[in-house]
Symmetry: C2
Subunit: 567 residues, 2 copies
C-alpha cells in the first residue's frame, strides 16, 4: 500500500489556538522572575538585584534602547563591553529578547581589532564600561555605524567626554518604563554575536540563535556530574569568573537563570574580591557553589597569600577550568585546598560547550587517583544534543581510541554557530564535510575521553615528530617550586623546532630554582614513560608569561619574543 505522507500528516490535528512554544531567551528570565523571584544577581558588594527586579530592569533597557532608535525585531547589533556586572547580565537578555543582537565586544582585543569588529558588526549603539572610554574616544572618528554611546559606571555619573550623543546607563534606565512586551520571536532568530580572538587574520564573528543559546543553557547543566555528593547539580550559587565579553561567559549567566541559582559577578577580575564574595554570599557555609574560570584565575586564587584566611569558604566548591590547559600541579594544589576541580573545553564557535570531565556510571567506583586523573583530561561529550569525534581532518574518519593516535576534534550540535558573520569563505572552511572543525590535536581512549594534546598551532614539530607543549607544561607544573610554566617551539637549525620553557616560580622560590633541577624532574617523568626524553626543553627562562585577553598563555607572543634563541 502506498502511503501518502501529506494525507497522514493532516490527521495529526493542531488546534488553531495551540500555543507554539519557541525556545527564546525571554523564557529563561521570565521563568526565573516567576518561579525564583527572590534569587539574586550579585555584583561585588555594590549591587544585588533579585531576578524579579532584573526582569524589570531588562524591560527598562529594552525601552531605553527603543528611545535610542533601536527598533524591536530588527536584528540590529548593539556592541557591549562591561566587566562582569548586573548591567551586563541585563544586556544579555534585554538586547536579544527585543529581537536585536548582542555583540559582546572583547575589550581586551588589540585596539585595531576591536575597532574592526565594531565596524564589521555594524553596531549602531555601543554600551561600554567607562574604563575603556579613552579607547573608544580615540577611535570614534573611525566608527562607521555607531550612532549613540552608553557608558556604564558604578557611580551613575556621566564622565567628561567628547563622544556624542552619549548617555549614562543608569540614568538611561531611570527614565524608562519597566513594562515591555517582548515580541514573540521565532527561535531561529539570531541573538548573539561574538568574535573569536583568532590567531591569524582578522577576528571571526560567531553568531547564535535564541534556540542555540537556550538549548545550550539547558543542555550544559549536566556538565557537573563529577562533583562530590555535597554539591552536585543542585548547586544554588554559580560564580562566573570568565569575562562576560568572552564566549558569552560560557553562558553561565543563562544557566544560572535557568536554574534559579544565585549568580555572583565580580566586576573586573580580582582574586581578593572573589574571596570576599564567596565568604559573604555562601551562607550557610556549606551551600553548594560552582565556580567557572580559566586555570590562571584558579592559580591566582589558591596561590594568593590571603587564601588561607578564606580557605574554609571554598570547601567542596566545584571549580571547572575551561580551555585546553589544566596543569596537573595546579589541579593537585586546588584539591589539597579543598576544592573539587575538573576540566571542560569549548570554542567560541560552539557556544562554547563541547566536552567536559563528567563521570560515566562505572567511574564512580574507580580509585580516587584514577578519578582525579580522569578529571584532568578534557572529557567526553555528555549530552545527546551534541556529537563529538576525534577524526582525521580530511577523511573525517575516527582515529583509533588508543590514546595515542592523533586526530582533530569534530563537532556538531544544536548549538554550534552555523557560520561566521558576513564571511562565507571562512564559514565554508569551518564546516567542511558537515562537521565543525576544532583546531586542536587530540587523542582519545576507550571511554571516549578526549585529551587535548595541543592546539594545532602550538604543537612542536621536532625532527619530524610531535611534542605536546601542553603535556610538558603539566609535568613541569608538578615540580614543588613551580607556580606555572609555558612551553613553545622555536626555530632550530638542526631539528626544525625545539621546545623552550618559561617558568614562574612560587613566591618563596624566586631566584632559588635552576634549569638543572627542572631537567632532572623531567627525566624522572621520562623514565616513568609520561613524556619522551627528547621532549625535554632545551632552555628554561625564569620570566613573566604573556597572557591573552581570555586568560590563556599567549604563545604567539612568546614564539615571537624567543624566535632567535637558537639562531
Amino acid at each position: 500500500m502506498k502511503v501518502e505522507r501529506e494525507k497522514e500528516l493532516e490527521k495529526f490535528t493542531k488546534a488553531e489556538e495551540a500555543y507554539d512554544f519557541q525556545l527564546t531567551l525571554d523564557r529563561i528570565i521570565k521563568y526565573a522572575a516567576r518561579e525564583h523571584p527572590t534569587s539574586e544577581v550579585v555584583y561585588r558588594d555594590i549591587v544585588r538585584e533579585t531576578y524579579a527586579e532584573a526582569l524589570e530592569r531588562i524591560q527598562k533597557l529594552a525601552n531605553a534602547l527603543e528611545s535610542l532608535g533601536i527598533e524591536p525585531n530588527c536584528l540590529t547589533r548593539v556592541g557591549t563591553a562591561d566587566w562582569n556586572t548586573h548591567r551586563y547580565f541585563e544586556m544579555y537578555y534585554g538586547i536579544p529578547c527585543m529581537g536585536n543582537v548582542m555583540h559582546s565586544m572583547n575589550q581586551l582585543l588589540p585596539p585595531e581589532q576591536l575597532l574592526w569588529t565594531i565596524n564589521h558588526a555594524e553596531d549602531r549603539v555601543l554600551i561600554f564600561n567607562k574604563d575603556i572610554l579613552p579607547l573608544i574616544e580615540k577611535f570614534s572618528p573611525e566608527l562607521k555605524t555607531v550612532e549613540r554611546y552608553v557608558i556604564c559606571t558604578d557611580d551613575g555619573i556621566l564622565p567628561d567626554t567628547k563622544l556624542e550623543p552619549v548617555y549614562e546607563y543608569e540614568e538611561l534606565l531611570k527614565g524608562a518604563s519597566s513594562k515591555y512586551d517582548f515580541p514573540e520571536l521565532d527561535e531561529n532568530t539570531p541573538a548573539g554575536l561574538n568574535y573569536t580572538t583568532g590567531t591569524t587574520g582578522l577576528p571571526k564573528g560567531c553568531w547564535f540563535t535564541h534556540r542555540a543559546m537556550v538549548l545550550h543553557a539547558i543542555g550544559e547543566q549536566f556538565n557537573t556530574r563529577w562533583m562530590p555528593e555535597a554539591l552536585d547539580q543542585r548547586f544554588t550559587i554559580l560564580f562566573v569568573l570568565t569575562p562576560m565579553f568572552h564566549s558569552f561567559a560560557w553562558e553561565v549567566p543563562y544557566i544560572a537563570t535557568a536554574l534559579g541559582s544565585k549568580l555572583l559577578l565580580d566586576g573586573r577580575h580580582d582574586p581578593v574580591v572573589d574571596m570576599e564574595m564567596v565568604k559573604r554570599e555562601r551562607t550557610p557555609i556549606d551551600r553548594p557553589i560552582f565556580i567557572c574560570g580559566v586555570s590562571r584565575f584558579l592559580m591566582e586564587l589558591i596561590d594568593h597569600p590571603k587564601f588561607k584566611e578564606y580557605k574554609e569558604y571554598f570547601k567542596d566548591a566545584g571549580y571547572i577550568v575551561g580551555g585546553t590547559m589544566f596543569p596537573e600541579g595546579l589541579a593537585r594544589r586546588a584539591e589539597e585546598a579543598g576544592l573539587s576541580v575538573a576540566s571542560g573545553m569549548g570554542m567560541t564557535e560552539t557556544c562554547p560547550g563541547m566536552i567536559g570531565a563528567a563521570y560515566k556510571y562505572y567511574m564512580y567506583d574507580w580509585p580516587d587517583e584514577k578519578k582525579f586523573r580522569y578529571r584532568l583530561r578534557t572529557g567526553y561529550c555528555d549530552t545527546p544534543l551534541c556529537e563529538v569525534k576525534v577524526a582525521n581532518s580530511d577523511t573525517l574518519e575516527e582515529v583509533p581510541k588508543d590514546d595515542k593516535s592523533y586526530g582533530e576534534m569534530l563537532f556538531r550540535s544544536v548549538w554550534a554557530t552555523m557560520g561566521y558573520f558576513k564571511d562565507p569563505e571562512r564559514s565554508k572552511e569551518l564546516w567542511r564535510g558537515g562537521w565543525l572543525h576544532g583546531d586542536d590535536l587530540c587523542i582519545w581512549d576507550e571511554d571516549r575521553s578526549i585529551f587535548i594534546v595541543d592546539r594545532t598551532k602550538d604543537v612542536i614539530k621536532s625532527g619530524g615528530e610531535w611534542i605536546s607543549t601542553r603535556t610538558l607544561e603539566s609535568v613541569i607544573s608538578t615540580h614543588p617550586k613551580v607556580q606555572s610554566a609555558a612551553v613553545v617551539g622555536v626555530p632550530h637549525p638542526e631539528w626544525d623546532e625545539r621546545p623552550i620553557a618559561l617558568i614562574i616560580p612560587k613566591e618563596e622560590y624566586k631566584g632559588k630554582i635552576t634549569e638543572e633541577e627542572l631537567k632532572e624532574h623531567l627525566v624522572k617523568y621520562a623514565e616513568k614513560g609520561e613524556i619522551l626524553k627528547w621532549w625535554i626543553p632545551e632552555k628554561f627562562f625564569f620570566e613573566e608569561i604573556p597572557m591573552t585577553s581570555a586568560g590563556k598563555i599567549d604563545k604567539k607572543v612568546i614564539r615571537a619574543d624567543y624566535k632567535d634563541v637558537f639562531a
Copy 2:
C-alpha cells in the same frame, strides 16, 4: 533609520554544509550507545542488553517492520502493547526513528475502547504481548486497518493462533539486519500517539513530535531536585514501574537513555519482582536509584510482608509518585522505611511533565517536617521550557496565591500535545484561549507551589460548597489502621451530594476497625483546621477499592456502585 530585517538576516552567514541538528529521538539512543555503551536495560531476570546491543536490535526492528510493509518516513501508526520489557524499549525508538508513529495501546482499557483506538489510529501492524492474544483474536474481525500481527513472548515460541499473517517478535528480529540508516527527520515529525482513558466519551489521541519528546526527556531530568545529597541527579539507576503503554511511562525510558543510566523494567508489575530486582541490580548497595510509580505501587511495595527482608536495598532510594494523589499516611510510611519520596503531576496531554515537588533554593533551609509537607504538595513548574498557572477557566486570569482560591491548572510548553488525533473539536476545547486546560481543581501558595484539591469531576458539591475527596483520603490515610482510602460524592436528597469512604485496613487490622474510630480521627483534623467538620463522610465501607488501568482509584465505578446509598 529604517532597517530592512531581511537584508540584516542575510549577513548571518550559514555555511552550506553546516549541519542542521534536529531534535529527533535517534539522537538519544545513538548518544547512549556511543557514550554509555555498557549501561544496561534490564528486564526482570530474563534479559539484560547494553545500550550498544539495544541500538542494534532497534535497527533490526526497523528492518523487520520494513519487511512487513511499513515504509520509512510515512507516519504509519504501529500499535504496541507489551508489559515493561526490553522489547517495548526497542519499540520506543525503532518505530519513531524510522519516521513512523508509535501508538502505545492501553491494553487495560475496556476492550471496546481499545478496539476503537486501534481503528481510530489506523494501526497497520500490531505488536503485543501474548497475554492479550485472546482479546486481539476476539476482536480481530472488527479491525479495519491492521495488516499484520507480531506477538511478544519471553520464550520466543509463537503461540497457536488463528490470526494471520502473524509473527513472533524475537523470530522476526532474528531474520533482520542490524544495520539501518534512520532517515534524517525534521524534528516536528509526529513520533508518538497515546490515547487518554477519558472519563466521558471516547478516548482522545494525544500525539507528540520528536522535538516534544526529546525536549521532555532533557527538560524533565531536573525534577529530582528535592532528593537528598546521596542521590541527587547523578542517579545511575532508573526504575520505571509505570506501565510503558501509559503516558509513555512518563518518558522515563527516554530519560534513562539520555542520562546513560541503567534502566530497570519489571514486566507485568509485581512488587516481589521489584524487590528482587533492586536487590540484584543496586550494586554497590548505595548506588543512586530513582523509582517512578503511582501511589498504589508504592503502597504495595512498602506494605508487602516481604518488604522488611529487602528494606536495606531501598535505603535513600528516590521515589516519585505521579498523579493527583499522594496520601500523607503512605508518604510517612515510605519515609520511615528509608525511601525519599515526592510527588509530581502530569497529564497524557502534557507528555506528561507539568509540575513536581522540586525545592527552591530557600527550601533547603526549611525544617524537615515543612520540607516533607512541601514534597506532598504537587509542586511547581521547575523549568523554563514550560509555563503553568492556576487560573480561572474562563477569564484565564490567575487566582490569588493564597492557598485557598480555587482555579484550574493551565499549561503551555514546548512538549504539550498540539491537539487530539483526528479530532478538531476536542482539540479546540483543550486549547481554548491559547492555554492547555488541565482538568483539576487547584490552589497555590506564595511559593507558586500547586496543590491539586481534586479532579474537577471528583470534587463533591455539597450544600453549595466544595469538599475535596483528595484531602479527605489523605487525612484518613494517616490513621494507623488504614492502608488506603477512597472518597467519592454520591447523590443525597438534601445536600445534592455527600461524601462516602471506602477503606482498606492494614492486614493486621482487618475486621478490627470501625466507622466510629475513623470519624473520631477526622474530628481531630477538623479541630486542627485541616478539614472542615461537615466534610466528614456520612458512611464508611470496608470494601475493595476499584482501580483504573493506570493504577489510580476508579471513582467513576465507585460512584456508580454506591449511587443509591442515600436514595
